[in-house]
Symmetry: D2
Subunit: 383 residues, 4 copies
């Protein structure tokens, strides 16, 4: 061996076991395994069941975080933790209980609650990680992407493709919370991330508080591409997907269904995907985002899919089943569906107090990674 002195203990530990598909234990086999350890070698035959399962066996587990637990802790962090260069963001991430205490809601995805106090700025930086904001309640913060201030309000989805400069600015007298989704764990495990600090403070113009971003004025018109804008590269040029449009699109689908026309994913289940208007593809190269609306009292079909999804209840309430877990959920609650775990939901039947009368679920996932590489699969067991 070359770099390791014989004194360094090997990280490889092998044990001969008497089991089907395994070589018969013997002193000679033990000796071979010791040599493997010394030379940093691991046989396939002891690992194949873990590494090459019949179908994905997620290291993550289904888990639920309640908004009513999260929000007070974010508020408390607002009091105790300043926002500034170095820490960069007052963001508190969901840590899947099976992933070793790391801030990974799933092996590929990051989900956090971010919190900004009145008048605060979160400093400018950029990174290759793709990101979005989603607002379940409140307003008053502007995300400043490439010097374009983008207002954030309840129901808005605000993507921001990697390597764009961005900062946040709370221009109001009230604190605001929202959720951040990123592909931090994916880029961490695949080893691709780059990061740069930006300017120390925003200009007065960026502290402006416009009602619409410049990106929306260029790209927010259905089916219309601004001739002056470059063809676009990685990730959407549209920086805000407003609730009024999402809400209307979902209502339209349910209305079409009521009139007897196609439009819904399955009976009583409307859904839209947030897309890059310059390509029609997913809004970010590694992250898919969607809004689902389930009519009251509807039970969706179970679905299994390669890759992880995170859901936040935007409105209404219902009962969610993920693998062997079942939870009753309500506005703001967040849960994760690990790879290949069956997922279904039943919306509350009675008189919902949600705006739409239905259960509205925001979803994001890592599906574009698998589709780009030809590894995506879905299965609907009961169909």
């Amino acid at each position: 061996m070359t770099q390791r002195s014989d004194a360094t203990p090997s990280p490889v530990h092998l044990e001969a076991v008497d089991a089907p598909g395994q070589p018969t234990p013997s002193a000679a086999l033990d000796e071979l395994y010791r040599s493997f350890e010394k030379e940093l070698l691991v046989p396939l035959w002891t690992e194949i069941g873990d590494l090459m399962p019949a179908h994905p066996q997620s290291k993550a587990q289904p888990h639920l975080w309640r908004w009513n637990d999260l929000l007070p802790l974010a508020e408390r962090a607002g009091e105790l933790v300043p926002v500034g260069r170095g820490g960069e963001r007052r963001a508190i991430a969901l840590a899947n209980p099976s992933l070793g205490g790391r801030p990974f809601v799933a092996p590929t995805l990051w989900a956090a609650i971010q919190y900004l106090m009145p008048g605060e700025d979160a400093p400018e930086h950029r990174h290759t990680q793709h990101a979005f904001r989603f607002v379940v309640e409140g307003e008053g913060v502007w995300t400043v992407v490439g010097q374009d201030p983008v207002p954030m309000r309840r129901g808005d989805f605000l993507p921001q493709a990697g390597w764009n400069w961005h900062a946040h600015h709370n221009a109001t007298e009230k604190p605001m919370a929202w959720i951040d989704g990123l592909d931090i764990p994916f880029q961490y495990s695949a080893e691709a991330p780059f990061f740069e600090f930006g300017r120390e403070r925003l200009s007065d113009a960026e502290h402006g508080t416009p009602d619409r971003s410049r990106s929306e004025r260029l790209w927010g018109h259905p089916g219309l591409r601004p001739l002056a804008s470059p063809a676009g590269g990685r990730g959407t040029p549209l920086l805000a997907y407003r609730w009024e449009h999402t809400n209307r699109a979902l209502a339209d689908q349910l209305e079409l269904e009521a009139e007897g026309h196609p439009g819904t994913v399955e009976p009583g289940h409307a859904a839209v995907r947030f897309c890059d208007p310059s390509t029609g593809s997913d809004v970010l190269p590694t992250i898919r985002a969607e809004m689902h609306r389930i009519r009251p009292g509807v039970q969706t079909q179970p679905v299994q899919e390669v890759g992880a999804s995170v859901y936040q209840v935007f409105d209404g309430s219902g009962t969610v089943t993920v693998g062997s877990q079942r939870w009753t959920v309500t506005r703001g609650d967040l849960f994760v569906v690990p790879s290949w775990q069956p997922f279904s939901v039943r919306s509350e039947a009675g008189s919902s107090d949600s705006d739409s009368g239905s259960l509205d679920l925001f979803r994001f996932s890592d599906s574009p990674i698998f589709e780009a590489l030809g590894l995506h699969r879905t299965h609907e067991p009961t169909r």
Copy 2:
């Protein structure tokens, strides 16, 4: 919280430290951190340096495995370890010393030496993991892919895209060793793998020992596509890239350079990439494979690249530099270049005893993953 009893210790462990970018330690902050732990939350500000570095900081380290150490252990495994259903393959994987003893040469890549005794069959199976074989010495095994027996000989590169049925068959009186490369760690961490067992034994026809595979007869002619073959999907339809072609292509590039024409990557450095003839793209959706030839006495420029590469010396000898490591290498030696580590090589100046008189390096990497997702970057510091 919902699924965890308060008695279960949290996997999250947070500690307030007095450091730039961190909130000032206090009893109140401690209390907040305890609540984060209880609710399975982790702040960004304690993790950002690790998760969002200025450039990729690989968890893997540069490492070298010597062929002269590997081959005797594979031979010994040939005596002690049977090949059959369950263990599936007599394959022994390189374990990067920094990756916890797992059989991962890099966070995304698997590299193993496989060994088959005279008359042995490795059983048929299929999996979504993409794979290839590369032969540094010997011959006599046929890889049977989709019932097409493909002979394996020194210098041959034999890719096999995911979800194709495959088995191996040693039709000779001599054992044979070769290396396997797969994307097992990537699919393991992204949670995409599927696997199925195949038939218990191959047919007599598949035990045939043709000199060329059917795939080569259809797809092995330069620039010619068989009209009868489907347009192709994921991964190359050509199952063998023969050394005679690779060797001639490299010789042609150096000859062009000698005549004063473009052709080489840099002075004295020829290189070809193995490609899917139906698309011109990388031979596998997640794995790039190349052969490099360095004229005697040539020093290549250092290069940094997102993603990991594994090299095997096919012929000749030289000195390799990876980050702060430097090794003298010779035929069969394998080493790994982790993400963003600078890599360069100097070929031996004197009278090489290699076939080509040069240093020939086989390389494979995970670059297609990053290119598909827009995350690929390279840097040549001294240019």
Copy 3:
């Protein structure tokens, strides 16, 4: 010769001329040319100047059709010409004066005024030719595409990709005129067209007069893709691009310019392209469509482009220059810009009586054909 009796006169006629690049006339050359004629052969050297010019030399010429001339003739056709099976449509096409009296506004494009009387139906059919409608004035007709009735109103752009069943239905008490654009000449000269007759009459449901089409309810929300809809094939799933959106997008660009931000094509010149929301590409595989708005008193830069464009003045007035032609144009006027002819426009400076105060120009072209084949070029001589 094989199929032609010697008695049939050859369509080939060759004449030896004494000119640079031509062989010296002689009796022997004459004899050779007679043999060429007999064998149906034509030498390159007599044709190269015409066939392979330094840049495109259009067979078409710039030409203007005035709305005030067209509309009365369409009205008169409404009185004299019934609409029904066989003739199919009361459409009257613009015939470029240099194209032999064929109904080709340009070598690749068809432009016609169509006219439907109160209560009339234009019968259902489908064809591979791609088509759109554009409405410069009036309302009251529903285009029924795939059984989805789509209302047509001033300013609306209504594309309809090839091979979709379609009919038109005037549900009101007033006649209505609009323009049709198609790639009929392109498919005619390339020899690709297919055509089928549809049902003899529409259903009652298709005679409905909804305010929005079903396609708009599914696809008309900015950046939102309906999950239930197929990924889409050739041509946009969105059947109507409404004036309210187009108008606002153009106003937004001029507003951005006024605030000092990028957004316009050149100073005072806003423009949007109608796009397929499922791909971000041109709305039809062979036809590009755009709306341009020129602030009062602005002179645009001349542009040359491979391929032909047809413009209709939607609002305002101005002076248009195409090659050596110059016209003053106003609402409804149509003109053609042949391939590679320089085009520029000056909007009327004074108090325009248009809705927007500006000159609004609808444009369609054959650019997607050239872009798909790598033959597109533009040139801006004065920049």
Copy 4:
């Protein structure tokens, strides 16, 4: 009207006829038609049968040109017609008898016999038209593309994508003939062509007579891409497809069939397509090229296809059916299959005197145009 004085006779001529789908003739209709003529308008209802047929109705007709008729005329042109600047090439084009005596073998395609005398150079130029050479007999000319001399020999296919500089050089003591295929008529009718003259004479290096081109040394190895070469744009970087490879690929397919494996298009019919090795796509953006081999005595199934094809018999003989035409053909004969005309062939049963014992047919077509635009269709009536 705007540009035309009333004195100019209109190119439009309309006649009212009493026929189904036509308006009833009347004095009023006559008056309307006169107004249409004056205003350069043509109604759809008089033209629809011609412009929008049920399926493509080619303006071209099937036709055969015999090599034994062509070659002597080319030889005679070699004596009478010099090659030089202005005329550019001693190329004699096939003129379809239904296309008005223009040098168009089909509405989109050009096919010519080119002839170069000993020691002659055809001058350097470039054009956007895509081109290839195919050699049915002889050798001794080098096509110099981008200063890379490419030898031409029997059976070789030599493509040359648009806008590459090129010249021809006969370095031997014997004249040589070959055929040229281009998309001249397509670019002429679509109005896209550009052309530039090159240098007046080639350098000594370009007058070299290498056995292989530089392009083959870089790109002529199966499945291997040179790392140093740019990713490539429009059209293949490989400038010669050698007969030895084509011949072997066809033989391999028939051998696979004889062994009971898939490989041929239909029984006894092998075929390869010439492809761009950097993309796997057609060798030129507008032209497809293939070689077909029919075993002796085999009758192929009739096929109809959108777009035109031109065939040259490379070897053997047989009977060809195109629409209602039937010819016996032999080496060198050229024939055209217009759009949507059924095509089939029967190879000669007896003891062929061809090299392969079979009928070998070279084919080129305009299919990539239709595939790029979604207009391609095929039909096999008897299957």
